[in-house]
């Protein structure tokens, strides 16, 4: 039984401008991904979700913290060990069109796997393996083999990449926004494929910003904001009974087919110069209690979520693990502590962070 364990992983990026401030992309993120489990990792742009996927795939080295696979720290693999690691842990990314070299046929991705991992396998046996993998992702070999990438649809390309991962003895799949570029009619097929593979024992980290898709496939949900976990637990509990204000806000903004947003028309001088409004128009309030209309609310939320979080001049501090809040903020940056908000157990299998 294989387990991928992310333990206290932090990643700081050094900003080239703004006086060499540091941008924390991940702040002490910990969770475990077990066999046969789909975890959806949900966050808006800049939340660090893609960085976490890259850390797990060892494409980015964390500033501190470890990722262990079956008890072994992935940072310490020898080149041979790393090759074995990639036999078990694979990634599929958002844009299928940029995962292929347009000059070569699409099935070259299979050939490259063979060159690295299956040199001794006879051609006939290898072709059998490819057919089995294509069958698992519901592709007809005649439709895709020998074709160039531009001859395949986005859904076919994405499924071909999953088939490539299946050729290996893959146990963990990092799926980073794999369906956001697909049409609605093919999205569900790829989602159902993940469900099928999960039932066969595959562990999937499903990275997405789309809450309804995350909700559909996952057993557990991790919600990231500014690189820290704000809420995590069994999907039914997190979505059915969200506790953190940020989760609630995300859920309230999801467009649903059969339920309309509450749109409150703005008054004649609804917004003053700084974008804030009087409390009389309050329909929703965000954590710090400022009253806002829906539109101003959205822009405040945007301010909270999209402005660059920067910790200034902290370069000397993180030689060890971070201790204590050391936040300082630039003029347009959100003040942020390197220490993530503490998680408490709201109910069994459902953790919620303190308000930051």
């Amino acid at each position: 039984m294989s387990t991928l364990k992310v333990d206290q992983v932090s990643k700081l990026y050094r900003a080239a401008s703004r006086g060499g401030g540091l941008t924390p992309a991940l702040r002490q993120v910990s969770f475990e991904l077990r066999q046969g489990e789909v975890i959806s990792l949900i966050g808006e742009s800049g939340s660090g979700k893609t960085t976490l996927g890259k850390v797990i795939l060892r494409l980015v080295r964390p500033t501190s913290g470890t990722v262990t696979f079956d008890g072994a720290d992935i940072a310490e693999y020898s080149p041979g060990g790393l090759r074995d690691y990639y036999r078990h842990v694979q990634g599929v990314f958002q844009d299928p069109f940029s995962s292929y070299n347009p000059i070569y046929r699409a099935d070259r991705v299979f050939e490259m796997v063979r060159e690295v991992y299956f040199r001794g396998v006879p051609r006939k046996e290898w072709n059998g393996k490819i057919e089995a993998a294509l069958d698992a992702v519901a592709l007809n070999p005649g439709d895709v083999l020998g074709k160039y990438p531009h001859q395949l649809s986005g859904g076919q390309q994405q499924r071909l990449l999953i088939a490539r991962a299946l050729l290996l003895d893959v146990k963990v799949l990092v799926a980073d926004e794999i369906i956001s570029m697909l049409d609605a009619s093919t999205r569900v097929d790829v989602l159902n494929l993940l469900v099928k593979l999960k039932r066969a024992g595959l562990a999937v980290l499903f990275i997405t910003h789309d809450l309804s898709l995350g909700n559909y496939v996952s057993d557990r949900t991790v919600i990231l904001r500014h690189g820290a976990i704000v809420e995590m637990g069994e999907t039914e509990k997190v979505f059915g009974n969200p506790q953190h204000d940020y989760t609630k806000m995300l859920l309230s903004a999801v467009p649903e087919l059969h339920k309309k947003w509450q749109h409150t028309p703005l008054g004649p001088v609804a917004v003053s110069g700084n974008g804030r409004v009087a409390a009389a128009d309050t329909i929703e309030s965000i954590p710090n209690g400022r009253g806002v209309t829906a539109l101003a609310h959205a822009s405040l939320v945007e301010q909270l979520t999209h402005e660059r979080p920067v910790v200034k001049r902290e370069r000397r501090v993180f030689s060890g693990v971070f201790h204590g809040p050391r936040a300082a903020s630039g003029s347009s940056a959100v003040a942020l502590s390197l220490e993530p908000p503490a998680l408490r157990e709201f109910e069994p299998g459902h953790l919620v962070a303190e308000t930051e």
Binding site: A184, V188, N215, A298
Partner: protein
């Protein structure tokens, strides 16, 4: 009728002959209507939207006509279209986030735009722009910023303000919410509603592949498939009681919050849309349709089966006739 499109066809020139991306399309928009235009990639929805504003060199109008507020819109004639863009018709292009020139501050860019459109009272327009910027919750200082200093959602909203600055009658918004996070999506969606309510735009065609966004903001939804219209009706009808098999399948393939694979297994639509270079005769959804029968070899008419509800499907027409 604010906008009326009759039998419009638009083709792309290619070396192997014309590819008709918009095939004999007719619809009308009332004043104040936000019409959602949805379909898969390659369905011709962007081509249709763009054709109303700007036909680029590859595109050619091969039939039909467009009327805006009682006057014909000469979409095939760039010279006479030029003065009507921005004042009467306006477009928020797909990838609007990268539509802003990177070396121009927003304020400067606005000035350039107004000058090139020969707007006389620029100072007044700029004051109005400031008012609108504040209205939607941005700060006035965005005028002094470069596009890269703004987040994606802010850029998207600035682009919409620019496109609607001269209060056009028709705004075509192409995938304005697609690359955004949910919270920003909502802000942009509500901004479109607010601008319509305030009369900054008279009517809007919102093009997207995301039906759930349209369910939030659109008054009516038109579904396009392989260059033709499949169904048009009020938003509540399309979402709650669609008649065309394609619309039904699309709606059924959308996961709602709270739906999980172990309770409800959703299904996609097998197959792909036909190539428009050499489309099959008859109904173009035929090969993917679970209800296809002999008559589908002929092209179904896009007809009104109930008041305000248009469908192009033989099965639906027959059932409606039978009562």
């Amino acid at each position: 009728m604010s906008v009326s499109v009759e039998n419009l066809s638009v083709a792309y020139r290619s070396r192997r002959g014309d590819v008709t991306a918009v095939d004999n399309v007719s619809f009308a928009l009332a004043d104040g209507e936000i019409m959602g235009l949805a379909g898969e990639s390659g369905s011709g929805k962007s081509t249709l939207g763009n054709a109303l504003i700007y036909l680029d060199a590859r595109m050619r109008q091969t039939g039909g006509k467009v009327t805006l507020d009682g006057r014909e819109l000469p979409i095939a004639d760039p010279k006479s279209m030029r003065p009507r863009r921005m004042t009467e018709v306006s477009l928020v292009p797909q990838y609007a986030m990268s539509a802003l020139p990177p070396t121009r501050k927003i304020g400067k860019l606005t000035g350039d735009l107004l000058t090139s459109h020969r707007v006389p009272n620029q100072a007044e327009v700029l004051t109005e722009m400031r008012r609108r910027i504040e209205l939607i919750g941005l700060r006035e200082d965005v005028l002094g910023k470069y596009p890269f200093e703004l987040s994606g959602g802010m850029r998207q909203r600035v682009t919409i303000i620019l496109s609607t600055l001269l209060n056009p009658s028709l705004l075509v918004a192409d995938e304005v919410t697609s690359a955004l996070d949910v919270s920003t999506q909502r802000a942009v969606g509500e901004m479109l509603l607010e601008f319509r309510d305030r009369g900054y735009v008279k009517s809007v065609i919102a093009i997207t592949h995301d039906l759930s966004i349209l369910a939030q903001i659109a008054d009516s939804i038109t579904i396009m498939y392989a260059g033709r219209l499949a169904e048009k009706a009020s938003t509540s009808t399309i979402v709650g009681n669609p008649l065309h098999p394609y619309t039904q399948a699309l709606i059924a393939s959308l996961p709602a919050v709270g739906v999980r694979y172990d309770q409800t297994m959703l299904t996609g639509i097998p197959g792909r849309p036909p190539s428009l270079a050499n489309p099959p005769a008859g109904c173009r959804f035929r090969d993917r349709c679970p209800f296809a029968f002999d008559k589908c070899q002929q092209t179904p008419p896009f007809e009104e089966v109930k008041p305000g509800h248009y469908v192009a499907c033989w099965k639906v027409s027959q059932e409606e006739q039978a009562g």
